[in-house]
Each structure stands twice: as C-alpha cells, then as structure tokens.
Amino acid sequence: MNIPRLGGDGVWRWLSGACVALSLLAVVALLVLVVTRGLAHFWPADIEQLTLDDGQRIAGIARGSAAGEERYFTANRDLDGQVWRWVETQAIVTRETPPALLYAERRDWGSFIGRLTAVETPAGERLQGAEAERRLRRALAGDAEVATLYVRNVEGRELKVAFAQVASIAWPNRMDVGDKLAAWGHGVWRFLSEAPSDGNTAGGVWPAIFGTLLMVMLMSLVVTPFGVLAALYLNEVARQGPLTRLVRIAVRNLAGVPSIVYGVFGLGVFVYGLGGRLDSWFFAERLPSPTFGTGGLLWASLTLALLTLPVVIVATEEGLARVPVALREGSLALGATRFETLRRVVVPMALPSMLTGVILAVARAAGEVAPLMLVGVAKLAPEIPVDGEFPYLHLDSKFMHLGYHLFDLGFASRDTEAAMPLVFATATLLVLVIVVLNLTAIILRHHLRARHRALEHS
C-alpha cells in the first residue's frame, strides 16, 4: 500500500495531534460551558436599573449582549408578559444599581424584580418602608409572620403577593461577596434538596435525583446477578464451541441496539404484557385504571437492566478470561472441584472486573432517557416513590429522572428560555453523577491491572 507521505511522518504526527487537541478542546469547552452556566445560575447577580432615551425604565440582570444590544432578564412575567428584554446600548441613558431592588422567587409566575412597599401581617396590620423590610426579613428567618407583600416594579405598577407564594427573597445590590457566597450555597442546596415548582421552571430537582438513583439501584440489583451468572455460564460452564461463540457475538451486538428499541420492547413486554397480566390477576378491582399495566419504576428498571446486560456480561467475561489457567489448575490439583475453584479463586480474581462492569452499566443507565419515556418516567412526580406506607417502596409509581427533567426543562416547559440556567444546572449535576461513576470504574480497573501485573512479574 502506498500512502502519500506529504513531507514525511511529521505531517501525520501534526495532523493526528491536532485532531486529538481539537477533541479535547471540544470536551473541555462543553464541560466549562455547562458547569459555569449551571453554577452561575445560583449566584445572586446585581440588578441594574436602566433609564432609556424614551423615558422607559427597566430593571433586570444583564445576561449577554450581541450586535449593539444587551439582553436583560427582567422577570415579572405577570406584569410584562415576558421575562427577557433586548435593549440597544445606545438607547441607555443611565445605569444604576439601587440598593432597594429585590429579587423574589415565587412559586407561580416565576421571579419578580422590584421594590417592597409594604407588608401586611395576618392580623391585618400594615407596615411600610424600613419597618416593612425588617418585618419581612424576620418572617423569612421564621421569627415573625407576614401574610401579604405589596411590591412595585420600576415602572410603578403595584402587585400583591401572598407570603406563601414566596420561595426566596434577596436584595443582591446590597450584598457583599460573603453574603452572595452564602446565598449561592443556599441556592445550590435548595436546588439539590427541593421539589420542582412553577411548572418545573423553579425550585429544585430532588425528586429527579432520587428517582434517578433509585431506578439505577434497582436496575443494578437486577442486572448484576443476571449478567454475572450469564457470563459465568458462558465462560466456565458451557462447552466452548460454535454455539457459545454465536451467543457471545449476539451479546456484543445487543450493546449496539438503539436504546429506544429497548424502550419499545419494555413497553410491549413488561408494561403491556407482564403488567397487564399482573393487573388482571392481582389488581382486578382497580381496573380499568392500571396499576402495573402502565409505565413505572419497576418496568423502567427492568428495561434498563436489559439495556445494560451486555455491558456486565462482557466485562465479567473479560475478567474471567484473565484469570490465569495456571491458578485454576493449581486449585484443581489441590483437590478442589471446579465449583470450589470458581468460588475461591476465579470469582474473587474476576471481582474487580465484575464491579467495573456494573459501574459502567450504572453510568450508562443514569444517562439514558429515551427508553424511559416509554416505560415510566414522569414530567412531574414530586412525591418520591419511597414512603412510610406499605409496601414502602412503590414499584408501580411513576418517577422523575434527571435526564428527562433536563429535556422537559429545556424543551417542553412553558418558558424554555427562562429555564435555561436550570437546564445547565441540571446538566452539570447529571454530568457530575456520570463522571463520578466512570471514575470509580477506571480506578477499579486500574487496581485490577496492577494485581495482574504483580502476578506476571513474579
């Protein structure tokens, strides 16, 4: 074969090097983008008040600029009908950051930006000015009660907000870096620990984190024994021949089947087939409303277990194949049966590979969304599927999932643009979960290699 050398090896070296660099750059850029945007969302940015040349007033948080225009997040959807404003830079006459401007997150209608004019206590007492703010702060800390807030946007339009509607209030223009850091930490914590609100565009993602983890855990409970036993059978029990070879090829190819196909399979076999059967046998009194005959935690876990089965089988088989024949024979020569050899020598040595396989399966499952949409993921299921009510773990219930939540926030919610920062925050979380899982797998595999090297060198 004659490969044109184009000035020798140097060119190829540079070319391949450049490709590697480009790929690395793409990955790093992606991560930086997602992580910075995701984390920035919780930073209480200053609120600017602008006066335009036509006398209009706008208050908002600067979020980017393009072609001589600046973009502001102005909140107040209920007053303005929109939350974003593009402003020509030339049209801006003054820019201020008045300390009185507050940023409130509400459980409906999104956030609000404006000033506090008064508060009303449950007793009907109305407080104004500085006294109102003092009372509100105490109420936020839980030391006093407030029933209603009266607020005004920068154009002077009044709004009445029930205190119960308020998720958080901050006066970012008055905060120093320490305050902001504390508020940022608090925001991150709320994101991680609270249920979503306001049509998923506000609040946290706790049910989605929990749902993802629970589903993945159930999945590994299923896939581990099945995968490991299948690999043990293929590698240690079955007669090695054309048939085992065929099965092996089939298993490896199964890993390449598009995941949505597994979703369809799960829907047909688990949900309609198995679930329908279960319903007619055990939950007939509830029909026609389905119990197991609809998507749910159990079916989603089973579907993903099926999807990740090849990963576990392949990894386990590799681990088994790497146990030296000399050690197997050494054990047999001491009077161990094949089963004893398997249990005491082979399986312990292949254990790290099995674990690696399971972790890779978990990482794959944690990021998989498409099949779940068919077999049980929900847009909103703020109740987590574990509670104090028998049977405690509700396998038939729908659940939330980080990956699907991401999709829903970004592309199916009421105001996808306002939800963008949350999309990035959720993506950061998802990436983090998967990175941690993969790192664990890499470290385990490294230990395995080290052990085998130790054997070879001795």
């Binding site: 007669r239 000399a326 050690l327 024979e329 009077g335 130790a454 001795s458």
Partner: protein, 273 residues
C-alpha cells in the same frame, strides 16, 4: 527393591520394564495413548512407577512429558479435545473407573507446575487453601498444618515472621517452595513435579532438589526435567521419552552410565536434543 535391575524386554519397543515387585509400584501405566484433537502426543506407553522413590521423566521438548504427568491426576479431563486409550492404576485402582472421585484423586496426586502459581492470597491462606477444602476449620489445627507444611518445604524459617504477607511478594524460588508446601499440606501420596526448577536461579534450584530428595521418605515423587544433571542428581529411576514414546526406562545410574539404546545415549550425551 534395592536390587531392582533392568530386565531386558528387547522385543517390546516402548514397554521397557524396570523390575521391582508389583506390590511396591505406585502408578501402573498400561498401554497409554493420548491425543490432542486427534494428534497423538503419547503412544502406547507402559511403565510402572515405584512407591517412595523419585522417578524422572526426561526427553526433548514436546516429547510428551507434561502430557504424561497431567494424565496421572486427570487434569486432561478439563480439555475435551483430549482422547485417551489405555489404563492408569494408582495403588492398584484404575483412576478412570466410574466410582473415582476426581477431586480426591487430585488431592492424592499433587502437582507442582513449571511456573510457580501461588494464589493471590497471603502465604498462610495459600497453604491453608487445600486443607480448608478438606473441611478443616479449626484455627489451631490449620496453624499446625500450615507450619508443618512450610517446614517440610524448607520455607518456614524464611516466612514465619509474616505469614500474612501476600504470596506474590515472595521470590520465584520461595514461591515454588510455597506451592510445594501448599501441595504437601493436603497429605498427597504422590507429588508430580513438572520442571519445577526450570524458571529458577541455581541456588533456588539446589534447594528444590534437596527438598525432593528429602521428601521421598514421605511420598512418591515424579519429576519431569529437561536437565540431565538434575535427573542424575535426584532421581532413582529415569524414563527417557521421545516423540510420545517411552524409549528407555531404567534405574538412573544404569541409564546414565550404561544406556541400552543408542538413542538414549545420544540424548544424554547431548548429541541430539
């Protein structure tokens, strides 16, 4: 038995016989043929291995020494490409008989391989491994057996300070003695050694040879080696194999000083190999 002499069986090519009372034979191999995927590796082999002696199998690489040795504890059972004809008797009993427990046979016929193969466990656990399989659970008893086995394998003094160190931290020679200790711990009747010193340095080799000589009061040893001096130093009987056939089998002194056949002489004097 000391009067064992080479009785000529001139007419039978591969059934040279070493003469000792049949009551003192450990293995009795009769017309054994063995093939891998139809390719013969042993051809019509007949020989008797005396009890409580060291018998060496010598011969050029690929002549079937390992194949023969692995036939004696039925390690070939694992490979279903292997076909066998003929009979092997251990203490008079056919090892391929239906009622033979293969695991028990392998316990009785221990094997040490060319490359040391300690398990990825501590020194202690390596030696205790086979003993535990026999159902011994009491710590006291295990401790005693482990110490005895390590002492028998001349390794105790070197490892007693840290029995719980990984076996893989030992040197090659120590590992091989550990493997011998591990095998001795299950009290075998026979010890098969497949070139046990070929991967070791001269000093470790000497230690292993010394060990082999010392062990024959306890059990029967069969040593495969490609090292003629080694065979001459440690064995009582030597069988010379070539291309899957038994060429000559005689007391070691006789075979090395006065071989009956030209082929044997050529091999031991290094003219072919």
């Amino acid at each position: 038995m000391s009067a064992a002499s080479f009785s000529a069986a001139e007419t039978q090519r591969s059934s040279a016989v070493v003469d000792f009372p049949s009551t003192s034979s450990c293995f009795d191999i009769e017309a054994l043929s063995l093939a891998y995927e139809g390719k013969p590796a042993l051809r019509d082999l007949t020989l008797r291995v005396p009890r409580h002696r060291v018998t060496a199998f010598i011969g050029p690489s690929g002549c079937g020494k390992s194949t023969l040795l692995r036939g004696l504890n039925r390690l070939h059972d694992l490979n279903d490409q292997v076909t066998r004809n003929g009979r092997i008797r251990l203490e008079g009993q056919d090892i391929h008989a239906r009622d033979v427990d293969v695991a028990e046979l392998r316990r009785r016929v221990g094997m040490v391989f060319q490359t040391p193969n300690p398990f990825p466990m501590s020194i202690y656990e390596n030696v205790a491994y086979g003993v535990r399989l026999q159902g011994v659970k009491r710590k006291r008893e295990l401790d005693e057996i482990v110490e005895w086995a390590l002492q028998s394998a001349a390794l105790w003094e070197e490892v007693k300070a840290d029995l719980h160190a990984s076996a893989w931290t030992l040197s090659g020679g120590q590992q091989q003695r550990l493997v011998i200790a591990r095998t001795l711990a299950v009290r075998p009747d026979v010890l098969l050694l497949d070139e046990p010193a070929s991967a070791l340095d001269p000093i470790s080799t000497l230690k292993i040879e010394e060990l082999i000589r010392g062990l024959k009061s306890q059990l029967t040893l069969i040593l495969v080696t490609h090292n003629m001096q080694q065979a001459a130093r440690v064995s009582d009987y030597t069988a010379f194999l070539h291309a899957g056939e038994l060429v000559e089998y005689a007391p070691t002194d006789t075979l090395f000083t006065n071989p009956r056949l030209r082929r044997t002489e050529d091999y031991i004097t290094g003219r072919v190999g």
